[in-house]
Amino acid sequence: MINTINFVSKFKKANIASIIIFTLSIILIFFKGLNYGIDFKGGTLIELRTDKSIQASSIRDSLNSMNLGDVNVKKFGKDGDFLIKVEQKNTNSNNLIPEIKKVLKENLNAEIDFRRVENVGPKVSSELLESSIIAISLALAAMLFYIWVRFEWQFSVGSIVALFHDVVITLGIFSFLSLEINLSIIAAVLTIVGYSMNDTVVIYDRIRENLLKYSKISISDVSNLSINETLSRTIITSATTLFALVSIYILGGEILRGFSFAMILGVIIGTYSSIFVASPILKFFKVSYKTLEKEEEKILP
């Protein structure tokens, strides 16, 4: 076999790297925390466009004069476009938005267009957070179950460890870069779960097939062979998916930027984990063709 890469020899180094990054991610998530957007924290978000060039600081100053609490103003895409975030206050905010509009118009002396307004109350935001956590847990459980039905439990554990690895590291990077976590990031995380699983399944399928075909070869060699056999598919599919995602990231506008960034991270990490996390676990469990035969005996008494 020409052109084969010895992946198995790199398992150890890769696993150490994975464990370090995984642990760092957990530490970041717990201590630095995630930068929740208004979907999960509650509050008001306004995307506005002005006809004049205005400094973010002057918007900040005029909002601070309104005594709204924590206000965050940043440039958003084009010149004259800004994103304002106002923290949640328990007061009734039914009139908040027209008031902000009035104050900004007066203070800045400019035409102001509110292009997007989002306002999430505290009750709704905690419900959204809860249902997002449920959705991700349910997705992981469903994957675990599917692989358990289609393969053996060792595979199921391997794939779920890989998924955890992907989700945690993606969130860890978001925490490290202080990027906002909102509903679309949760959608991205769930899609990553699907994609990473997809990648893992392709390799696992091949490992199972090769285990039965070459019963004399060790799991390490079977893993190596299978990874190599599926390698060009892994690369091509990651490449086409990344083409699509990068084009969304660059051209899809500000709203999709966070989503596509999370997906790009996820696709890279997911591809890595299928090779360097999911496969070593089979070795750890000493999976062999006997594992498969035993299972078959159980099914066909």
Binding site: K123, A135, L138, A187, L190, G194, M197, R233, I236, L251
Partner: protein, 515 residues
């Protein structure tokens, strides 16, 4: 796997053509509809407002529990029960009763129990009691009693919200119940939701009460429109329920916008009697506990028609008459979630979404052609067919396309080729060992089948969960992703396989390669 009977081929192309036909419908003229089906644009693409309203039933429950005090006292007396320590709280009241067992018997009697009716649908009483200590008990609404109150208030609120929104005249609003306490309102194309929010934010409880220093019913001190403190009797002469119509009008003398109203028969009687008896006194017109105006009663008004003036602008007069026509909300409504997108941002989103779709599509197509040449063309044809079918299915379902939905389509483009890549790579491997090219292609397809299925089902699971838990735009993403997987499987396993078989069978075992 490469043999297609004529019937099979026919069915495959028939399915493809009939589904993709629907994708073309999206480009038809508005006036010249062939079939009235289109993909709906989500609020984030066409602009509009999404509001989630929650009924705030605290005050209603307080009112309702207080209305139970007199009946309960009557029940206690009828059963010769002695009570003491009567305390009224926010949502309950408590007292000490002499004989708890006897009380319980009367309180939970199913026969003709007007104080604490039995709700058949829930198999529960409206009220419940809790023991504080000894014979001290607390009366409050049971879980199902509260549910019944909330339900009724919610149903009524939805009706009034609908009337108010229809009156403003926005196009195709969606008004739906969400859970036990919430109303979802979607207003496509609405640029400024503040007016609607203002209209929905008012309960619009209108009362006519006499201004008087001391009244046998007690007085409230309210501040009038001119800033003067007025003592107003608690007795309601007439309320907004008796209104049958209200219209803005201009009073000629001062050119002042006013609201003219018309009363029903009962209202006209009540109003006539009150104004006849109290000529010379002032009548306060109170909306949501605020005095709009407190004019003098100059002469009896028996016609059932009247006018409210209160330094309105014409817009205010229009809105007030709209509120009065639609009736009062049973409880205040809180906006618990709002998402508004302006129409020009929606247009920008469509533009950038479509551009990134085109660029992503071209990149994938070029890459596939570079990798697989002839078979790259096969995969690319399948990809185009896939897109047509995806849009076709979305049209058939009249699904809502959102910005994340467009992202889902782009992602489908990137991931859809995976099925063909899996198959082609497998065939390449088979070609290494298999002498007959046809056999190699054949076993390539059959061996890759399981993997392709497994791999796609996992993504489908993720899409289904997203659909179940996601809200609004995210749901749109889940729909396109999920449908994309199904059309991908179809195009890879039927459409592309048929194209491949034509190439392979025509070549008659000559040397064909997947690069």
């Amino acid at each position: 796997m490469l043999n297609f009977s004529k019937i099979n081929t026919l069915i495959i192309y028939l399915i493809f053509l009939s589904i993709s036909f629907f994708s073309i419908l999206n480009f038809q003229d508005k006036d010249n509809l062939i079939i009235d089906k289109k993909v709906n644009l989500g609020l984030d693409l066409q602009g509009g407002s999404y509001l989630l309203l929650e009924i705030n039933s605290d005050s209603l429950i307080k009112e309702k529990i207080q209305s139970k005090i007199i009946p309960i006292k009557k029940l206690l007396r009828e059963n010769d029960l002695i009570f003491s320590n009567f305390i009224i709280n926010e949502d309950n009241f408590s007292f000490k009763v002499s004989d708890l067992e006897k009380f319980e018997l009367a309180f939970f009697s199913k026969k003709n129990n007007l104080v604490n009716p039995y709700i058949d649908t829930y198999r529960s009483f409206e009220l419940d009691y809790k023991k504080i200590k000894d014979n001290n008990i607390k009366i409050l609404f049971s879980k199902y009693g509260l549910l019944t109150i909330n339900n009724a208030a919610l149903k009524q609120s939805i009706e009034i919200v609908r009337r108010r929104i229809d009156d403003v005249g926005t196009k195709e609003p969606t008004i739906l119940q969400r859970g036990e306490k919430r109303i979802l309102v979607e207003l496509p194309g609405l640029k400024d939701p503040d007016r609607i929010k203002k209209l929905l934010g008012k309960t619009a409880q209108l009362n006519f009460r006499l201004v008087s220093e001391n009244s046998e019913f007690g007085v409230d001190e309210l501040i009038s429109e001119t800033g003067e403190k007025l003592k107003v009797s608690k007795r309601i002469v007439m309320s907004g329920e008796n209104l049958v119509d209200a219209q803005p009008s201009i009073q000629n003398q001062q050119n002042e916008p006013t609201v003219s109203f018309t009363l029903d028969r009962l209202g006209a009687q009540k109003f006539g009697r009150a104004t006849t008896d109290n000529v010379g006194k002032r009548l306060a017109i109170i909306l949501d506990s605020k005095i709009i105006s407190a004019p003098n009663i100059n002469e009896p008004i028996t016609s059932g028609k009247g006018m409210i003036s209160g330094n309105f602008t014409f817009q205010e007069a229009t809105d007030l008459s709209l509120l009065l026509r639609s009736g009062a909300l049973p409880t205040p409504l809180d906006v618990v979630e709002e998402r508004t997108v302006g129409p020009d941002l929606g247009e920008d989103s469509i533009k950038s979404g479509v551009i990134s779709l085109i660029v992503g599509f071209i990149l994938v197509i070029l890459f596939m052609f570079y990798k697989y040449r002839l078979f790259g063309l096969v995969a690319n044809t399948a990809l185009i067919a896939n897109l047509l079918m995806l849009v076709g299915v979305l049209t058939i379902l009249e699904a809502t396309l959102t910005l994340p939905g467009i992202a889902g389509i782009i992602l489908t483009v990137g991931m859809a080729v995976d099925a063909n890549v899996l198959i082609f790579e497998r065939i390449k491997e088979e070609l290494k060992t298999e002498k007959s090219i046809i056999h190699a292609f054949d076993s390539g397809y059959s061996k890759a089948k399981i993997t392709v299925l497994d791999a796609n089902i996992t993504t489908l699971i993720a899409a289904i969960i997203l659909f179940a838990f996601g809200s609004g735009p995210v749901k749109g993403f889940a729909i396109t992703l999920g449908i994309g997987i199904i059309t991908t499987l179809f195009t890879a396993y039927f459409f592309a396989r048929h194209l491949t078989s034509m190439i392979v069978l025509k070549s008659k075992n000559q040397d064909i390669k997947i690069k």
